[in-house]
Symmetry: C2
Subunit: 410 residues, 2 copies
């Protein structure tokens, strides 16, 4: 990434993404490979007035060594100081920037049960803090940074340098960063367009959506009563605008976890905890997955669905035009942040409380009683396609075509 | 560093350096640039039975940005979770491996007062844990890893690739790693030689040492009553042998903090908190620095001496033959770990309790009462030279030549 674009990208992450406020603590989670972006983000954050920047570096290679060699009890331990640290950051009302630079196959071949138990232990220990981001108490954002392994996975026929440059270019394009326009203005315009679709969907107030395509998907997703379609920028409880995902193209809302039925066939592979689950489909009845299969890593899929009750139902339904900028790049990124924005998707697991009226003020129990999903996980998977048809059905039976040939027609 | 030598070096750090025990937690502190060595160390540690490996990555560039941009109050804050983390690691009886890969000028130009206050705050918060390493409760070790900035500082006339290779080669040579001999055997032999000199010095039981050379040093360093000369491998309270410094050539003991007088002229620059203090000398009277000057970064020297009472006196005196392997490389590393092993040195600040009989069982107050130094800092500086003469003087006035022309003659 050349220096000018790197700086512009960091500016996007810090000012449009988390929108760090004067005096606020910025916490950055990043793999060591993304250090150049980390440095730019830190510099810019201090320049716009951040009180401090705390960086936690991760290391995929080290994680893999640990999963290979350490005992299960060790992998499952979450030391109290890690919990205390998270409590400290939240007590400081920090904003949280995650820089992801994945190796999609990093945990390939590791015992899925080991990964599951370690992941569960961490999720449980940190569950008490989940509200901070899911309820938009503080700003949070995720951006991506290229690395060589990822680049070679996405562009296997190019040499390392070319592949890395191509991935960097794709990330910047998808994130709407270029050298001729100001990112803040670009994202402002983009957010207004996305919010236009969300408003229309809210005005329709559908009872359920019926998805159909030639891959075999024939799925009815009931929407929760008083649901809210959202998209683009978000706002914290304190009124600070931020963009949780960079890039983002989706408009999304909350399904009723009891009212999902039919078959959904994934249109892209899913990278979950370092395993690539491919060629999979799920069949729902009464809101719950009743059968599933996968051509690759079916056990990882099974373990994910077994996480808890909510992991077998949905927490989010998201609509993306098939001719979105990311979709038009026609690249499989092997990464949810991008691939979910190239295609309509669903999320297994936890819902976003902001997707229902009054949801941010509801307790977990109230949200659950209303039909929300209360899982430890939230995993997006893609099922959109160029021939996706979506029909919105109102409670009086009125049918409205929402998507034709993969695109919005409202 | 080629893969074979990297693995051998990691084996040295993990098995000879910290000598991690079965089931023990290994904590590694390392800059992100040293990730390749970190990965090898982690892999080997698990293979020899470590219970777990916890890695804390540091980032010099980020530290500099923070020192440039963050406010003093922020820099001085040590969050409780960091203290809790250290307490957790010590409670687990971990061993601690530090990998250093310094940029000697990283904080050049930063306000020394800012650095001093931030460093003091951290030292104070962590003082409660200092005993763990200084009293050899757990094993600890420091090794070095090359980086480009450091390499260009050491070899300014070579291109980047050549400089980096030369530094890697010098580190391996100094650390006695090569591709034909087993490092464990090499270090075993080396430790026996060093311990031979320490035994002789203990048998002499000198009252004080008199240092003289043509640079202008004319210094008498009184040794503490019941002092112990140490060198080479160390042993924990629980009987585990480890090597705190890789490389190490020194035999060293504890001065009496009241009995130091005369002038000492440094023979190499000193990198302290990212500032290179050069061309400096100190004059002692009654054990205390009464005057000092430096050609470069005198203020950093002043701030260091001002840390506390003990920072103005000595805590260690160390003897190294001028024709040691490191000295023969004839390289200024701009790093204490190496440069201190190329030349006789002194340390301003805290003593090592193991350098006096019964010291490990003494309280801080008892050690202080006996003449030990109780400072927050321990900073080595070099004053050895090719013409260093050292005379040992016993309490009955007997004089013994210890060094002639820079080398041991006992």
């Amino acid at each position: 990434m050349n220096k000018q674009l790197l700086t512009e990208f960091a500016r996007l992450a810090v000012t449009v993404g988390v929108n760090v406020q004067k005096g606020q603590l910025l916490r950055i989670i990043a793999p060591i490979e993304a250090k150049d972006l980390v440095h730019e983000c830190a510099r810019i954050a201090y320049e716009v007035g951040a009180g401090d920047v705390v960086v936690d570096y991760s290391d995929d290679v080290l994680s893999r060594i640990r999963f290979e060699k350490a005992g299960l009890e060790v992998l499952k331990e979450v030391p109290q100081w890690q919990v205390d640290k998270q409590a400290y950051l939240i007590d400081k009302k920090c904003c949280m920037l995650s820089i992801t630079s994945p190796d999609p196959d990093v945990l390939d071949g590791i015992d899925p049960q080991k990964i599951k138990e370690a992941t569960m232990a961490r999720l449980k220990a940190m569950k008490q803090f989940q509200y901070y981001t899911t309820n938009n108490i503080g700003q949070w954002s995720i951006v991506a940074y290229p690395n060589l392994t990822w680049a070679k996975k996405v562009f296997p026929n190019d040499n390392e340098e070319v592949a890395l440059n191509k991935l960097a270019e794709a990330i910047l394009k998808a994130s709407r960063v270029n050298d001729s326009e100001d990112v803040v203005a670009v994202w402002d315009r983009h957010n207004r367009a996305v919010k236009g679709y969300a408003k229309k969907m809210n005005d329709f107030n559908f009872d359920y959506l019926h998805f159909q395509n030639s891959l075999g998907t024939d799925l009815k997703v009931g929407l929760i009563k008083d649901h809210i379609w959202e998209g683009g920028a978000d706002v914290t409880a304190g009124g600070v605008v931020f963009n949780p995902n960079i890039p983002t193209e989706e408009v999304f809302t909350m399904p009723d976890r009891h009212k999902i039925s039919g078959r959904v066939v994934a249109s892209k592979p899913l990278s979950y905890n370092g395993n690539l689950i491919d060629g999979f489909e799920l069949t729902f009845d009464g809101g719950e997955v009743v059968s599933f299969k996968a051509a690759k890593n079916e056990e990882a899929l099974k373990n994910m669905l077994d996480t808890d009750e909510g992991a077998k139902s949905l927490g989010e339904v998201a609509l993306i035009s098939h001719d979105s900028p990311i979709s038009n790049l026609n690249i499989l990124f092997y990464n949810t942040l991008f691939d979910e924005n190239a295609s309509c998707h669903l999320a297994l697991g936890r819902c976003y409380p902001s997707n229902v009226r009054g949801g941010l003020e509801m307790s977990d129990e109230e949200l659950y009683a209303k039909g929300g999903n209360n899982s430890l996980i939230h995993v997006d998977f893609m099922f959109g396609s160029a021939d996706m048809e979506i029909t919105g059905v109102k409670s009086d039976g009125t049918e409205i075509k929402v998507f034709k040939n993969g695109n919005f027609v409202i």
